[in-house]
């Protein structure tokens, strides 16, 4: 079959390029209207069906030569043919020993392969370095560090309650029971081995007047030792506003603050003023609290 106008021919004129394969040139059909349909080309890649006289196409059947061909233009008649119509790959007649062109896309492949290998090697190296570094670092950290299992206790804040605050400062059992109550006022005191459930004091002492008021006045002293007085509590049931009760509370405050000459007068004055009502104050580390019913005054350490 003859090539349509504008399609390139091989140099020997035996084949023409149909855009995909080289087709053999056949004798032109007789003039007149065509009586048969277009010829159907044989399936590519089956030389047996193409006939012995038909050389196999020198170019792969796939792809468009004009887009995929890497070959440069050739001068001469071939160049003229290519300028006249669609470009065709260089023609190589069968049996000439001409080198078969490489398939389209074969040119850039080595460069792409090299890039891929580089990326793979780099990524692998980084991952390996990350994992190895992590393992080595973690192992070193665990091996060189001992778990803290016995750290020291943190320091205590300034107002944290301490054991020495449990006792009335500078107050002794003798000071209260002997010097004030027994010697000066002829009171009688009795020891108790029972502990105080309220303050936890280990020992107690109750003192009462030696006269008829013994049933209406009393002083309780709770302590852990002779110089560890926990609390002192005076009770007076002679009536709110009675002079003996006011005097008892004033003298008690004066005694407890007696180590400090400045504060003892202040404490005595406060007790005399507040003996008949509920009030509370802290003087010199001693917390004084009065109550009208029951009529009492209690002294404990101020925190």
């Amino acid at each position: 079959m003859a090539a349509p106008p504008g399609w390139p021919y091989s140099p020997d004129g035996r084949f023409w390029w149909d855009g995909a394969t080289w087709q053999p040139v056949q004798a032109p059909p007789p003039p007149g209207p065509a009586t048969h349909g277009p010829s159907v080309p044989p399936p590519p890649g089956t030389p047996a069906q193409q006939g012995l006289n038909v050389p196999p196409p020198p170019w792969p059947a796939t792809g468009h030569p004009s887009a995929a061909s890497p070959w440069p233009h050739t001068p001469g008649a071939q160049s003229a043919q290519q300028h006249a119509g669609p470009q065709a790959p260089p023609y190589a007649p069968p049996g000439t020993g001409a080198p078969t062109p490489a398939p389209s896309g074969a040119g850039p492949r080595p460069r792409r392969t090299g890039t891929a290998v580089f990326v793979l090697v780099t990524a692998g190296t980084l991952i390996a370095a990350l994992a190895l570094g992590g393992l080595v670092g973690a192992a070193a950290g665990l091996a060189t560090t001992e778990p803290v299992t016995d750290a020291p206790a943190p320091s205590f804040p300034g107002r944290f309650p301490m054991g020495k605050q449990r006792y009335l400062p500078k107050v002794t059992l003798n000071m209260v029971a002997v010097n004030w109550l027994q010697a000066a006022n002829s009171w009688r005191c009795t020891r108790s081995t029972a502990s105080d459930p309220l303050t936890g004091a280990k020992m107690g002492m109750i003192c009462r007047p030696g006269d008829a008021t013994r049933l209406h006045m009393s002083v309780y002293i709770w302590y852990d030792g002779p110089d560890k007085v926990v609390s002192v509590k005076a009770r007076c049931d002679l009536g709110v506003g009675s002079k003996p009760c006011t005097s008892l509370f004033s003298m008690m405050a004066d005694t407890l603050l007696s180590p400090d000459r400045t504060l003892r007068g202040q404490a005595e004055a406060w007790a005399g003023k507040n003996a008949d009502k509920a009030a509370v104050t802290a003087i010199g580390g001693v917390r004084l609290e009065t109550s009208a019913r029951p009529h009492t005054m209690e002294a404990v350490p101020a925190i």
Binding site: P147, A153, P161, Q165
Partner: protein
């Protein structure tokens, strides 16, 4: 060559990071009590510290109980051992600190008392200690509440019947 250099840098960075993480984890190791206790601080150390301040402590098997009474005010702390069904560990899993008969004159001492226990798990973190202390001050002055600080649960409850205020600190689950 470039790949080797970059790999070396990555190796060093990864190693340094892993070393730091492993070191911190090791120092904070609480595996000896199942991640359920105050890290690194044995219960005996805390008890000795309290005894040094004049508090009286007694071993109640499940917990150590320490107390100090000043006048009518009682400061009590129960330090619970970490443990399971069969074993107990000498570390603190829970603290119950209470103040019985507090009044207006004991507010400052009461706050310092509870703050000391509350800071034990975070003793090396001043900002967290400050945060816990601020929350405690609000609750002691108020009616109490519950909060969570870094996996620890804090509860402050005021009980009118027993005239007490109590802080419970335990690991959050």
């Amino acid at each position: 060559m470039v790949v080797v250099a970059v790999g070396l840098v990555v190796f060093l960075i990864a190693g340094a990071g892993a070393y730091a993480v492993a070191r911190i984890d090791r120092e904070q190791d609480t595996k000896y009590c199942g991640h359920d206790c105050v890290p690194g601080l044995s219960i005996g150390t805390v008890v000795e510290a309290l005894q040094g301040q004049g508090h009286t402590c007694a071993d109640k098997r499940l917990f150590w109980s320490c107390e100090l009474r000043i006048g009518r005010v009682r400061f009590e702390a129960d330090l619970f051992r970490a443990g399971n069904v069969t074993d107990f560990y000498e570390y603190i899993s829970k603290v119950e600190a209470r103040i019985i008969n507090p009044d207006s004159t004991t507010a400052a001492a009461g706050l310092d008392y509870m703050s000391w226990f509350a800071m034990l798990p975070h003793r090396d973190d001043p900002s967290t200690v400050k945060k816990v202390g601020g929350w405690l001050a609000e609750q002691i002055a108020g009616d109490g509440d519950i909060t969570y600080v870094l996996d620890w649960e804090y509860t402050v409850e005021r009980n009118a019947n027993t005239r007490s205020i109590e802080l419970t600190m335990k690991r959050r689950h």
